[in-house]
């Protein structure tokens, strides 16, 4: 196939992006290394935050591909190729998980990030992890060996699904047989429940188990809804950029944008619904094993004054991540005017990062006070930016390399005409 001018441009851009990725990842890794040396978990959390964000984007995109296949959706066909390009990011994100495995297996105090990983570690209150009743109950699941096996399984499954969808779609470009549209549909029907389960367990393993005492049945759904939200926002941002560059000109029109925005609104409501439900059920039941998690995010442990997380929760999440996008996206004009939609998509991306902060960063730091701990306060560090930009650039590099090789839309898809002539 003759390479278009756009594709040559993308190739050149991808080299730059790779340079940025390597530079920032090195800064993030240096932070990781320093954190391990000094016994400070915060730079490791930065690395985990970057991974959480870009993994959520990837999983959201993977789920959208599969949803579109199983519902035989026509309008989305012109967008699907952009998501398929991004699927090559999973193996790369798997590489960024390796430092955590090194920490678990080869460091003297493997419990630096996940306390359950080190039975000898001390908990606030003077108990060892091994003496903790909840640890003893959960150790069958939360142990380094099973954890590693699961991580390999999760990344393996997501990478396999992503690469399989890519393969079918790219084969169809040169070989327009019906099977290349049918097989991914069957695979999607199996892939949706599998991805739902793996993303739930991944969220439990990597983020929820930071506080292994906690119980919540909503956590996987929270990660899922966050993932779909930022995947949609990322698609809108990406398409706005491509549209401006003339890459999707004539394909991507107002009706496609309207549908994406409607989905963004729907998942804003869904995110709000499940996030509030999680809080509300725990608040209502008022059981200490569950309330401590929100307690840490509202009060200072000694004097019950509000800590920084209270303001992050009220202004960042309730107002910023729910009410603002919800009310904004109710308006038809805000959904279809490209610049307006771009604004709220960037907004959602930023506030989802704050949501990840809220879920991942707070923890108990040893202290001399009466309860034996202080809550780690809200902060944004250099390493947060470094891993967020580094991993994002890595994903973008994977996307650009694929976009430089393959066409921007699946030209032989049975539904491509329907997608091109899609009206509101």
């Amino acid at each position: 196939m003759q390479k278009s001018i756009h594709q040559i441009g993308l190739k050149r851009l991808s080299t730059w992006v790779l340079g940025i990725a390597v530079l920032f990842l090195l800064v993030g890794l240096w932070g990781f290394w320093r954190g391990v040396q000094l016994g400070d978990a915060r730079p490791l959390i930065s690395w985990l935050l970057g991974l959480a964000f870009w993994l959520a984007v990837g999983i959201g995109m993977l789920l959208l591909i599969m949803l579109w296949y199983v519902f035989g959706s026509g309008w989305s066909v012109i967008l699907r190729r952009q998501l398929e390009h991004a699927m090559t990011a999973f193996p790369l994100l798997a590489l960024t998980f390796i430092p955590f495995l090194l920490l678990l297996w080869w460091h003297d105090s493997p419990g630096l990030l996940w306390k359950w990983a080190d039975p000898q570690a001390l908990l606030p209150g003077g108990e060892h992890v091994a003496q903790d009743a909840l640890y003893q109950g959960k150790a069958v699941y939360l142990n380094p060996l099973f954890f590693t096996v699961r991580a390999v399984l999760f990344f393996g499954l997501w990478s396999f699904l992503g690469l399989a969808f890519r393969y079918c779609s790219y084969r169809m470009d040169s070989d327009p047989r019906r099977q290349w549209a049918d097989w991914p549909t069957y695979l999607s029907a199996a892939g949706i429940p599998l991805t739902a389960l793996t993303l739930t367990f991944a969220a439990i393993d990597w983020f929820k188990s930071l506080e292994f005492h906690w119980f919540s049945t909503m956590y996987g759904v929270w990660f899922f809804s966050s993932g779909i939200r930022i995947a949609l926002a990322a698609i809108i941002v990406l398409c706005a950029f491509l549209h401006k560059q003339g890459y999707l000109k004539g394909y991507y029109n107002q009706a496609h944008r309207y549908n994406l925005a409607c989905l963004a609104l729907a998942f804003t409501v869904f995110w709000g619904y499940i996030s509030f439900s999680q809080f509300f059920l725990i608040y209502h039941a008022n059981i200490p094993e569950e309330t401590f998690w929100y307690h840490m995010r509202i009060f200072n442990p000694i004097d019950y004054t509000h800590n920084s997380w209270y303001y992050v929760g009220v202004f960042g999440l309730i107002a910023g991540h729910f009410f603002v996008p919800f009310l904004y996206l109710l308006s038809y004009k805000n959904k279809v005017v490209e610049k307006r939609l771009l604004f709220i998509s960037v907004w959602i991306l930023i506030f989802q990062m704050i949501d990840f902060h809220y879920n991942i960063v707070p923890g108990r730091l040893p202290s001399d006070n009466a309860v034996g701990y202080d809550v780690r306060e809200f902060s944004i560090t250099v390493f947060d930016f470094a891993s967020w930009i580094g991993m994002g650039a890595l994903c973008l590099w994977a996307y650009l390399r694929s976009a430089a090789k393959h066409g921007p839309i699946p030209v032989s898809d049975p539904q491509i005409q329907k997608a091109l002539h899609y009206y509101e």
Partner: protein
Amino acid sequence: MPETLVKPYALTATFSELKPLFAAVKKLRSQGFKHWEVYTPFPVHGLDKAMGMPRSVVPRFTLLGGVTGFFSGLIMVWYMNAYDYPLTVGGKPLASVVYPFPIAYELTILLAAFGTLFGMFWTNRLPMHHHPIFNHPTFSRASDDRFLIAIEAQDPLCDPETTPKLLEQLGAEGILWVHDS
């Protein structure tokens, strides 16, 4: 019935092709007609835009219903639980936005749905048991193989002399007056 008592409802014209229909729609719109309607056997993409039809106002009723529901939910719980008969349940505060939220949220949805439904009925002037356009002798063809344009007699631009001629120039086929009996 004496001829003089029957009011004309609309001047109608049919088209069998989309192209002349769109040309006619554009012409009528540019002439400044306000009270007119096009009946088609299937949804025609872009016709509403060509006619210059504004977007539906129903979403405003939805929003109004939703906002009313949200605040009435909060006020209701405050009135019952904190004002009329103060009652502490499970150590929770008497007045709060946290525990009545499900009530406010459910009422938001309920009244937003009512707003949508009744707003739609109101804007469409439903229920309507009869419409004068059904007096057209072959109106059923607008559900089959003809596009039908109806220019209402109440439109100030609808003139018994010039408007039929205008429609004829635009390639309309059966031009006739429909009466409101």
